[in-house]
């Protein structure tokens, strides 16, 4: 059913359609509207067979989720940024124990400096946590990925993180096709846990494992994600059959057939990139884009296949590894091992900075002439950076960086108004 609605509300409705049994969450922007919506549904009786638990922290949220999932309940939670970091110990534990929890990460920057706006530094920090990470491009895809996520998680007995850009998606009103109960019920079977806490068949879950078996446990976790590489496209195909929509899968290309330059990105920025590509195509530039939906497991083969005919690749990513550069870019390079393709990393949209077509077109154009530096920070204000660097060189106690920059930005605005 087509509706014009906020992304968070759409996700909440999608989760509700999946018949969750336990939902626990701690509020953090920009995740709040999702769990508020669900909380109301549970309290209002729309979700009568579900427990909604207002926990005291994200650490507790993931811990409650671990308990309920281990006891055989379909379990959902959502968080973002600092909240994700606060639950990290439990995040790793959930995957280590193989519990099929589904969690929305409303992507937001990690502080300090504290910042509530979107980038991918939160999810990407959990790259190695053992969770499957799926990135939604649109609110429609966010809705669809959540439905697929439960199926994937429960099939593999692994937790799945559905990542959607904070504010950009979560707070955006768009037209969304909300599936019917019947459609979802037909697609998503009842949760059959792989292991469950049951007094009639007791087991001990969470044993201490020493050097004699730890590698094997870890390998098996890896093996499950390798299985996910097979399963994700299958589920997407099944989804398409049931819902008549392309959603999910490992990667999705756009204008790749003859592209010399391929942009790679994740999440909502793909929309802006596609618009930019359309403009450049109109100008005769052979450029395309590859959206990565499944960041973990990382689809090395699919990426390699998509890029094999390109001359260069530009990775646009909303986070970076301080001290080295691109994170997604590193994975892309791994996929291109042995293929002679030039690669560029563009770090963009940190802490919610708008990514404009103009700026993108500028860097993409440079890339097509191979004039782009290996690592570019999109729209970086060098004047501010240089000023602060000079300040620090001049005075050891030059004051806090963020506050200095804010002051500089203020001066800059005053001068130009």
């Amino acid at each position: 059913m087509l509706k014009q609605m906020e992304g968070s509300q759409a996700v909440a409705e999608a989760i509700a359609l999946c018949r969750p049994e336990v939902i626990c969450a701690y509020p953090i922007s920009p995740q709040t509207h999702i769990v508020e919506g669900l909380g109301e549904m549970v309290k209002g009786g729309e979700l009568p067979e579900c427990e909604f638990i207002n926990v005291e922290s994200e650490f507790a949220a993931m811990s409650v989720a671990i308990g309920s999932s281990a006891a055989g309940a379909r379990t959902y939670t959502a968080t973002a940024a600092q909240g994700l970091l606060f639950m990290v110990e439990a995040v790793y534990n959930a995957s280590g124990l193989g519990l099929p929890i589904v969690m929305t990460v409303a992507n937001r920057a990690i502080g300090a400096p504290i910042n509530i706006w979107n980038d991918h530094s939160d999810s990407i920090s959990q790259r190695d946590s053992g969770w499957i990470q799926l990135f939604a491009e649109t609110n429609q895809e966010a809705v669809d990925l959540h439905i697929q996520a439960f199926k994937l998680a429960e099939e593999l007995s692994l937790p799945v993180m559905v990542c959607m850009d904070g504010f950009i998606l979560t707070h955006a009103y768009e037209r969304v096709d909300i599936p019917s109960k019947e459609q979802v019920d037909a697609f998503l079977p009842k949760y059959e846990p792989r292991q469950v806490l049951d007094p009639n068949d007791p087991v001990s879950i969470g044993a201490m494992v020493g050097p004699e078996a730890f590698t094997e446990v870890r390998y098996l976790e890896h093996q499950k994600q390798m299985q996910a590489l097979e399963l994700i496209p299958e589920i997407a195909a099944e989804f398409k059959a049931g819902f008549q929509r392309d959603s999910g899968g490992l990667v999705r290309g756009y204008c790749l057939e003859d592209a010399d330059t391929v942009v790679v990105a994740m999440g909502s920025v793909l929309g802006t990139i596609k618009d930019t590509i359309d403009e450049m195509r109109d100008a005769g530039v052979k450029i395309g884009v590859l959206g990565v939906i499944s960041f973990r497991p990382f689809p090395l083969e699919a990426v390699r296949a998509a890029l094999k005919n390109a001359k260069r690749v530009v990775v646009v990513e909303k986070t970076f590894a301080v001290g080295i550069g691109g994170i997604l870019a590193t994975d892309i390079r791994t996929a291109m091992d042995g293929i002679a393709i030039r690669d560029y990393t563009v770090v963009a949209g940190l802490g919610g900075r708008p990514i404009t077509r103009k700026s993108l077109r500028e860097v993409f154009n440079k890339a097509t002439f191979d004039e782009l530096p290996a690592l570019t920070f999109l729209d970086l204000d060098w004047a501010i950076v240089n000023k602060q660097l000079a300040r620090e060189r001049a005075k050891r106690r030059s004051g806090p960086t963020a506050e200095n920059i804010l002051r500089d930005v203020g001066d800059h605005v005053a001068q130009h108004s």
Partner: protein, 338 residues
């Protein structure tokens, strides 16, 4: 205290069993068919109070729930010695997640059970216990514990208090008693051992949440302990039992003294044994043979610095004052009081 010991003159109800009692009055531990929830073969130290307390408590809970019980366990000695791959000692469905989240994991389990029952997927009234040591309860797990309490989740949390981080090599916790030596409160400097004026008594904090039931117990009085676990199981909502469990390793006591020291902790008044409902004390276990705190302190090497060539009289007096305060506060000598 509401618990009425059976009037019986040979050994009364002090012993674990009593062949002369009616079967329904006998302790769970005396039963040949007891669950042994924590099975033989675990790797606890000799004379481990926690291993004993855990079997006492979980067996009693199993008995009270007709074996419909799930346990969540914090990281710590109990977890490490009971479940090293490839063997587990637990005979109950059991999960270990993290050091600081046992209460929250239990909340999740309880929520799942509630939904399963609501949906008619299970008929059984499965109950949940969470358990941890004092570190996992009073320190790192305290946030989750308080959250579980204030939401009044249907969980019985059991803290096995041995007064320190014994698993990591006897460091101080917020339950380490004053003057006690630990690896991080060595008996050196101006105030040897753990400082006075620090630490917290979680049973009181639990009471401040006004949860249905809070109790303390020791491994020296099995019947009292079993009574409290069973009673806890008659309530819905959050419940807390804090059990003193001596640690021969951390306390520097002979392995055979574990129960004796528990008894002395209670008899000297240093560890008050009481119960409370909805934030109010409803009874305390009376001291049977009042004893000075020295009787409890002296057998433990963690207090050896108090009894050197120059005994630390002042410190002993301060500890006695703590015991006296407990005696007053919990009416431990007043046989007329609750």
């Amino acid at each position: 205290m509401s618990f009425q010991p059976v009037k019986f003159y040979q050994t009364g109800t002090f012993t674990v069993g009593n062949r002369l009692l009616e079967p329904d009055q006998r302790s769970v531990q005396a039963n040949m068919e007891r669950t042994n929830s924590l099975n033989s073969g675990h790797r606890a130290c000799q004379g481990c109070g926690e291993a004993l307390g855990a079997r006492y408590a979980i067996d009693a809970a199993m008995h009270a729930t007709n074996n419909q019980l799930i346990a969540a366990n914090a990281t710590g000695c109990l977890e490490v010695f009971s479940t090293p791959y490839p063997e587990t000692s637990w005979q109950v469905p059991w999960i270990h997640s993290l050091f600081g989240n046992a209460a929250a994991v239990a909340t999740g389990i309880a929520a799942a059970i509630k939904v399963k029952r609501l949906k008619g997927e299970t008929k059984e009234d499965v109950r949940v216990v969470a358990q941890g040591g004092d570190g996992g309860t009073t320190d790192i797990g305290f946030g989750c514990l308080s959250g579980m309490f204030e939401r009044n989740d249907d969980v019985l949390y059991i803290c096995y208090d041995n007064g320190g981080y014994m698993n990591t090599g006897v460091q101080r916790s917020s339950a380490t008693p004053p003057a006690a030596r630990t690896a991080t409160t060595m008996p050196v400097g101006a105030e040897p051992g753990n400082p006075f004026g620090q630490g917290k008594f979680v049973p009181s904090i639990a009471m401040a949440h006004e949860i249905p039931y809070v109790a303390t117990a020791t491994v020296a009085d099995l019947r009292d302990l079993e009574h409290k676990v069973k009673k806890a199981m008659t309530f819905r909502g959050a419940r807390y039992i804090h059990i003193l469990v001596p640690c021969p390793l951390g306390w520097g006591s002979p392995s055979g003294d574990t129960i004796k020291l528990s008894r002395l902790a209670k008899e000297t008044g240093l560890f008050p044994v009481f119960e409370a409902q909805y934030g109010e004390i409803t009874g305390s276990a009376k001291i049977r043979e009042p004893l000075p705190v020295e009787e409890y302190l002296r057998p433990q090497k963690r207090y050896a610095h108090l009894f050197g060539k120059k005994p630390a009289y002042e410190t002993i007096v301060r500890l006695q004052a703590l015991a006296d305060r407990n005696i007053r506060r919990y009416s431990l000598l007043d046989k007329e009081a609750n």
